[in-house]
């Protein structure tokens, strides 16, 4: 037994040490450096000095940054909500459809298309001489181009666009594993359509919902390119502060402090996701057990009927 487990340990380590080492050097170590830098004093021309300091964390609460933090939270909540409004029904419809491969295709193609190209496409739609303004003018609805780009609205729209697939895909895969006859059963027992969805479907797909939430909210919260390219002064986000602090202001400790906070937020998200996926797995296993029991009962009833038929 102990020889067996020693062999297991040796084998496990031999296979997974290369990846473990890679992550330790190129991921854990850089994050540790970031953590250390956030507690140091900034250098004169970028970089840091060896002195301990909490200035970076104090600067985070500076009102001008505070406003950007609040705005980032606001934009992220609205965009994540927007993604869900599309993604939950879409994922459900995909799971119930007979044409799943085709639909996956249609979701994945824009998702795989280069993100900068997709942002650029929105620039050419929303800009003053862009597609939308031209269409509206041709139809006689407006006389001169509207200012649609470089606003908070355009940032939210494009963020929803970029992250909808991140919500659709996990929702689709969890709903796909759901046994839809349970919904029929709930309806037969007198539940309304909405009650059946909220009380039967939602608890079963909780893991997928949390995964979708994490996969949309966190990248939106840390987004940089979208506010940079389609946003204006009223839509700078935390990602933009971090990059500016590294490249322009050269205040590395402040950039590091913001990164530390974002990292912690993401870690909490991951832990939540892992625990609720485990929870859903348990629920799914329970419903599968129920299924087999039900099938057993049905089979017995069926046999019984046949028996009756034989006698008659």
């Amino acid at each position: 037994m102990s020889g067996q487990s020693r062999r297991e340990a040796r084998r496990g380590l031999a296979y997974s040490a290369p990846m473990g080492l890679w992550f330790t050097i190129f991921f854990v170590l850089p994050l540790t450096i970031i953590l250390i830098y956030s507690f140091l004093k900034r250098g004169l021309y970028g970089g840091v000095t060896g002195e301990f300091s909490l200035v970076a964390y104090q600067q985070m609460f500076n009102p001008s940054f505070g406003r950007i933090v609040l705005r980032t939270i606001w934009i992220s909540i609205v965009s994540t909500f927007g993604c869900f409004v599309f993604a939950l029904p879409a994922g459900y419809a995909m799971a119930r459809s007979k044409h799943q491969t085709l639909l996956l295709f249609l979701i994945i193609i824009p998702f795989w298309t280069n993100s900068l190209i997709r942002i650029y496409a929105w620039i050419s739609i929303l800009s003053r001489e862009g597609f939308l303004n031209q269409m509206l003018m041709k139809l006689g609805i407006i006389n001169e181009g509207l200012q649609m780009i470089y606003t908070q609205g355009s940032v939210i729209l494009v963020l929803i666009y970029m992250f909808v697939p991140f919500a659709v895909l996990p929702l689709f895969t969890t709903i796909d594993k759901f046994d839809f006859s349970l919904l029929d059963a709930a309806r037969d027992l007198g539940a309304t359509k909405l009650q059946a969805l909220v009380k039967v479907l939602f608890p079963q797909i909780r893991g997928g919902m949390v995964t979708a939430l994490i996969f949309t909210f966190i990248p939106i919260f840390g987004s940089y390119t979208v506010p940079l390219l389609v946003g204006g002064k009223d839509s700078t986000m935390i990602g933009n502060i971090i990059v500016d602090q590294v490249n322009k202001t050269r205040n590395w400790p402040l950039a590091a402090a913001f990164s530390v906070v974002l990292t912690f937020l993401s870690m909490i998200g991951v832990l939540w996701m892992l625990s609720s996926n485990r929870h859903s797995e348990k629920l799914n296993a329970a419903s599968k057990l129920q299924d087999t029991t039900q099938q057993g009962v049905e089979k017995r009833v069926h046999l019984h009927h046949q028996d009756d038929g034989g006698k008659a």
Partner: protein, 273 residues
């Protein structure tokens, strides 16, 4: 009898193709494709501005015959995508095999840490890599891009191969070992062939992610090591040229071909992305 037929009617009613969820799915897909159609349409427009003049292929001529910097960037992208994709696939697949079936010290650490790069905002991965490379005084260039891309690709391979291993019967491996196969023989003749779909979709995912990444690459690239997304970014930032529209069409077609070739794995990829 009566009960079951009413049941069936009820079910058919629920599957009406014009139900609310189907309409929203249709809207979502239209929403996702509309911008792509707009760029493709304008790529055939003769004028430099947004007003439609007449159909023309001049931007395609520019793209293919007079954009050497763009093709250099594409070459860089391809080199990084293939090398980092290959490294991530080998390391990630091995780790998934090791972790799935064995108990050992450090397993929890590796399993947990392998999720993080996937969910951490890209800006943070980029910044931490930049600060790390500057700390070890490694000059930025193709090698640093390769390292960064391998790091953010590893979790996807690890997950996709792991998902495939879940469906695989471990007793087959025990049988191979009992029959006297060595560790390498078991790996190459039993494990690898049966998880090939997972390995291929991991590699495909890596290549796509690497070709697509802008933010992380932006931080860790040096002079002369620009990738295609970086080139596209500079085109958007400093004077838009309709060549970008033509490039978009080529890239959309490329994406569709890639998705078509790997259509067998779409569901596995969806499950883990």
């Amino acid at each position: 009898m009566n009960l079951s037929s009413s049941h069936r009617v009820h079910r058919i009613n629920e599957r009406r193709w014009f139900s609310t969820s189907n309409i929203i799915l249709g809207l979502t897909i239209t929403f996702l494709f509309l911008p792509l159609f707009v760029v493709v349409l304008y790529s055939f427009n003769d004028s430099k501005g947004m007003a439609w003049t007449q159909p023309s292929l001049r931007w395609y001529r520019d793209l293919f015959f007079s954009s050497p910097a763009l093709w250099k960037a594409f070459y860089n992208s391809a080199v990084v995508a293939l090398t980092s994709g290959l490294t991530a696939t080998i390391l990630g697949a091995l780790a998934a095999i090791g972790i799935k079936w064995n108990r050992f010290r450090g397993k929890a650490y590796i399993a947990t840490i392998s999720y993080l790069p996937m969910v951490l905002p890209e800006v943070i991965i980029g910044i931490s890599m930049l600060i790390f490379f500057s700390w070890i005084r490694m000059p930025l260039g193709m090698f640093t891009i390769y390292v960064a891309h391998t790091t953010f690709n590893l979790p996807f391979v690890f997950l996709l191969v792991g998902a495939r291993l879940d469906e695989f019967d471990y007793s087959t491996i025990e049988a191979a070992r009992d029959l006297g196969a060595s560790e390498t023989q078991t790996l190459w003749k039993v494990v690898v062939p049966s998880i090939m779909p997972g390995i291929l979709s991991g590699f495909l995912m890596s290549v796509t992610m690497s070709l697509e990444d802008f933010v992380i690459t932006f931080f860790v690239s040096g002079p002369g090591s620009g990738t295609l997304p970086l080139y596209v970014y500079s085109m958007i930032r400093y004077g838009v040229s309709p060549v970008i529209n033509a490039l978009s069409f080529v890239m959309i077609v490329g994406t569709m071909l890639l998705a078509w070739v790997f259509r067998r794995f779409l569901k596995t990829i969806a499950a883990n992305s």
